[in-house]
């Protein structure tokens, strides 16, 4: 006897939710600090923290994040 249609739908939604939560969990565990800049033509450059450009970007980003902590 085939399963009821709504059970198929519920199983499918539950499956997607499980996949999504696993993806987010892996993302949190594996993610490292990064800096990426995107030029108007679609060119993207990843700047490692060890490089001069990367260091400047991380310093500037820290100031922006600090500014958000100052409040009004």
């Amino acid at each position: 006897m085939p399963p009821k249609p709504h059970r198929v739908l519920l199983d499918r939604v539950s499956g997607y939710a499980d996949e999504a939560s696993a993806f987010l969990r892996r993302r949190r565990l594996t993610r490292r600090p990064f800096a990426r800049v995107h030029a108007p033509g679609g060119r993207a450059i990843a700047c490692a923290p060890e490089t001069e450009e990367g260091r400047e970007l991380f310093l500037a980003a820290s100031r922006v994040i600090d500014a958000s902590r100052l409040g009004d």
Partner: protein
């Protein structure tokens, strides 16, 4: 049904956004983007129009991030995204305006950039654009 608008101003004909318009845009971004902690909007000269906190501090921080991103790319960037342990920083340019923001960690970059560009686009087109967009959002 066909509708014809008799008077549709060109995008470039609007006056530069005022500080009050920019303050509304800042409030709108913080409202629509759940992960945003704060932001600043810079005018074409790099001067802060409005910010969610101390405007001078935000202005300097925003200019510094844009300058560092431009230096890294070797040309003016369309956007930049830096992820750190403490949070994430975004810089977005649209037309002559720029928006620099701090968000929570693990923000979905695509969603945030969409919101930031929408806010900047409405600001660049003037208050009329925001007034038209609001009923559309409510109807959706």
């Amino acid at each position: 049904m066909v509708a014809i608008f008799a008077d549709v101003p060109d995008q470039g004909e609007n006056a530069a956004p005022t500080a009050a318009d920019a303050q509304v845009a800042v409030a709108r971004l913080l409202e629509v983007s759940a992960d945003a902690r704060g932001c600043v909007i810079l005018d074409p000269r790099g001067e802060p129009l409005a910010a969610s906190g101390p405007i001078e501090y935000w202005g300097e921080a925003g200019r510094a991030l844009l300058a560092a991103a431009d230096a890294a790319a070797g040309e003016p960037v369309s956007h930049a995204h830096v992820g750190t342990e403490d949070g994430e920083a975004f810089a977005v340019r649209l037309d002559d305006l720029a928006l620099v923001a701090a968000t929570e960690r693990f923000t979905l970059a695509g969603l945030f950039l969409f919101d930031a560009r929408a806010v900047l686009r409405e600001l660049a087109r003037g208050p009329a654009a925001a007034a038209v967009a609001a009923p559309q959002r409510e109807a959706a």
